[in-house]
């Protein structure tokens, strides 16, 4: 089992392209390689394509185009088992363990034994063997502990040990420190630094940049499905500026020729805020505190941009503002009313609107027609419609058809289901139905232009600015720094569940300083 210690692997991935069913490419022509005995970091924001690339390497996904070579030989992984045969394994973010069994049993589960061997196995001897193995590796572990009682760090350790015990040569760590305490993380770093010497290659996927300097030999930066930067050993030895790396991660272009299309004369602070969130604490679904005391105010007619590497609590903040996720602590006031304990539909009926990043999951019902997707929102969100017993269908239909023309939603027939539309047209549909609602006061927009072409992006920006001139306020969450700098009146920076900085005037922002705040290197 522990045989292949002396056959290091050299992996190459060439021209990998992956297009998911939603027709938005996740990876575009990506080259990536792993040398024997190295730690190769893959950094990028959430949604940059890191996980997709790793899943292809681990055999979970098949690439749409491109090839994978192991030691110069072409391989086609059609399942994780295929990748495992070559010794490539993944340490999952959420662990793949049976909680009710002991550590030994969890290891035994994966051993490829024959039925005879399974029946006659000496668990005691195996346990001793495993214990010695774990000590030799430098990750000691009690073989008879129950997995359910282990901490996240120990569970991860078990996953690693298990893969090593089975003779895996390439370990893929997907955001490995996200669930660990600082001490556990430090132990993991130590292991990673030592592992190289025993012939193991490690791919370390992260969006935490401070990890990069301490453990990595090489770094590949992904952004929007493309490799934007590759740092070889020489670069790493010279030492890298984290802010520079951050810069590659969130976007590098267009910074010189920044021109603001915005509009605000900074008089807004004097009014009372339309939306105010005070001392908010919000948990994520794993019960970890994701928002740690946030205070924000949104004024009438302003566009407030929220910058930050995604995964720093943006999603939780959006859901907290909408009422989809409860606040552990704190208070939200909207238009003078305390809405902290109101549900989503109540808040939306009061005049909050939502432009979701996950359009298909949260925005539309794909099998219903375009017009139905529009007016079902109006009849639920607008008071005067809800009070009618019989709807004026003709009027609703005509309004929808006019909007389809005005927003140039490309379809052969307004009665076609939404699943026949492209991503950009679905976004236009969502915008169209929101801006048709005259009672909208606040719009919470998540990645409003993700996956859209240049023309549609400009269209969306124009619509947002037009609406804000008419007094609608926006909170825009975006991973596109350019977009935020173009749109926002004020810009808040979010890091690790806090607002680390608020810029009152976007024009004077120093990009270098901004990216340092985004990485949590300052303040």
């Amino acid at each position: 089992m522990k045989s292949s210690l002396h056959t290091p692997l050299f992996i190459e991935m060439r021209g990998i392209t992956k297009i998911y069913l939603n027709r938005i490419p996740a990876l575009i022509d990506v080259d990536f390689d792993v040398k024997p005995c190295e730690v190769h970091c893959v950094v990028g924001e959430n949604g940059a394509g890191k996980s997709t690339l790793m899943k292809i390497l681990a055999g979970v996904l098949k690439p749409t185009k491109g090839e994978v070579l192991v030691n110069g030989k072409h391989v086609a992984f059609s399942s994780p088992t295929d990748a495992q045969r070559y010794g490539i394994g993944m340490v999952h973010q959420l662990f793949n363990l049976v909680e009710n069994l002991t550590v030994v049993d969890n290891v035994l589960l994966l051993l490829p034994l024959s039925l005879r061997e399974k029946l006659w196995i000496n668990r005691r001897r195996f346990a001793i063997d495993f214990k010695q193995f774990s000590e030799r590796i430098g990750l000691p572990m009690d073989p008879f502990a129950k997995v359910g009682s282990l901490s996240a760090g120990l569970k991860q350790r078990l996953e690693i040990l298990r893969l090593l015990y089975l003779g895996f040569r390439v370990l893929i760590f997907d955001e490995p420190t996200s669930m660990l305490t600082p001490i556990e993380a430090e132990e993991l770093y130590r292991f990673v630094r030592n592992a190289k010497s025993s012939g193991i290659s490690i791919i370390w996927v992260t969006h935490r940049l401070n990890e990069v300097n301490s453990i990595c030999d090489r770094v590949t930066v992904l952004r929007k499905g493309k490799v934007v930067k590759h740092l070889a050993e020489e670069d790493m030895q010279r030492g890298i500026e984290l802010a520079e790396l951050a810069y590659y991660m969130v976007g590098e272009n267009g910074l010189e020729h920044l021109h603001k299309v915005g509009h605000r004369d900074s008089k807004l602070q004097s009014n009372k805020p339309i939306l105010r969130i005070e001392n908010a604490v919000i948990k994520d679904e794993h019960n970890g505190i994701k928002i740690k005391n946030i205070n924000l105010e949104l004024y009438r007619g302003e566009i407030l941009g929220i910058a930050g590497v995604s995964g720093n609590g943006q999603k939780e903040l959006v859901e907290g503002l909408l009422g989809y996720r409860p606040l552990e602590k704190g208070k939200i006031t909207f238009d003078g009313v305390d809405v902290t304990f109101m549900g989503v539909s109540e808040r939306l009926k009061m005049g909050i609107a939502y432009i979701p990043a996950e359009r298909l999951e949260r925005g539309v019902a794909e099998d219903l027609s375009i017009v139905e997707n529009m007016y079902t929102y109006w009849i639920n969100a607008i008071d005067s419609f809800r009070k009618q017993h019989l709807l004026k269908k003709k009027l609703l239909y005509n309004t929808a058809v006019n909007l389809i023309k005005e927003y140039d939603i490309r379809t052969a027939d307004p009665n076609f289901p939404v699943k026949t539309l492209s991503g950009g047209n679905i976004q236009k549909l969502i915008l169209a139905r929101i801006f048709q609602n005259p009672y909208i006061k606040v719009v919470i927009a998540e990645e409003p232009t993700a996956g859209l072409d240049v023309k549609t992006t400009r269209f969306v920006h124009r619509k947002i600015i037009e609406a804000s001139r008419q007094g609608v306020s926006f909170i825009v969450f975006s991973s596109e720094l350019d977009e935020l700098l173009n749109l926002s009146d004020r810009l808040a920076v979010m890091y690790d569940g806090r607002i680390t900085r608020i810029y009152d005037c976007v024009d004077t922002i120093n990009i270098n300083e901004l990216s340092r705040y985004m990485m949590g290197l300052d303040g």
């Binding site: 539909s345 794909e366 139905e372 079902t376 639920n380 076609f416 026949t420």
Partner: protein, 350 residues
Amino acid sequence: MVTIKIVNVVSFFLGFSILLLFTVLLFLVAGLDPLTSIHLLFYYGFGSPNYLIEALLRSVPLLLISLGLMFTFIAGVWNIGAEGQFCIGAIVAASIALYTAWMPFPIPLILATIGGGLGGALYALVPAYLRAVRNINEVLTSLMLNYIAIYFVSYLILGPLRNPTTNFAETPPIPETAIAPRILSGYRLNYLSILAFTLIPITLIVLSKTGFGMSIRFMGQNPIAADFIAIDRKRLILRTMFISGFLAGLAAAHEVLGVVHAVRQGISSSYGYISIGIAYFGGLHPIGIFLVSLLAAGIINGTRLICFFLGIPIGLSDILFGALPIFVFISNRVVERLIVNRLIYGRGVQ
């Protein structure tokens, strides 16, 4: 949209042909000549005015229950508990009829009818509440509540409500003041049946012209997105289940006050389960459901008679209706894959 309606009709006929093929197969297995048997089956189902009116009468409970189920299924709420809601509705209607017999004629009838509906509705609110507020799977709760209802009714008609004169396991006969009068003498079709048929246009309007109808459609297609377009999901779950239970109770009231005139063991004849298939086979559309429940009623009547005349087991119709949802599923899938995606939208989606 016209094309969509055509697709529904195509899907219906495809499902119907599979059903016929399956019936032929069953007759062959039973060692009968399939063509004559099918001819007889449809003759006894619809072949004369008398048989046709009997089919209409039997279609009433099926129609009512499946119209109710239609709302929940459109909303993505899986009410499997119509059987139990029917039983509770039946016993409530009968009890009200028995205890208000002293009032003048139409009052006990009206009270018992409404009471039957409310009985079913309140019973449906139990799984609805658990689903809406506690997020407990309504398939399990509504299904399990069926057995509670069935055995509770058994207890009542074997105990407190047992007919003292005959001592059979049934309630005393429904008093004259609560019996739904017949429309034509000699035929069992009654005024409550008419009420049921008027519900077809009403449900059609509710579905297509009200905010409720459109919102449940959206919620059924994408419950998560429903939250984000201001649909109050909890309320809609409670409402659809209330309607569904009410119509199941109404169906029971029709059987008790208009047809059987008592509550007996097995009064529901599995209508609650058969109607699940009917609601789907009818394309979750009131008119489709009406046609399918009439067809189903004829087939039920027809199989009972030919089973009697040809000496084959009476379970034939149970087999047919047990298999019906599978056929519906197959035909819907085939039509969706082959016709809708390819020809109408001009691309193979997914």
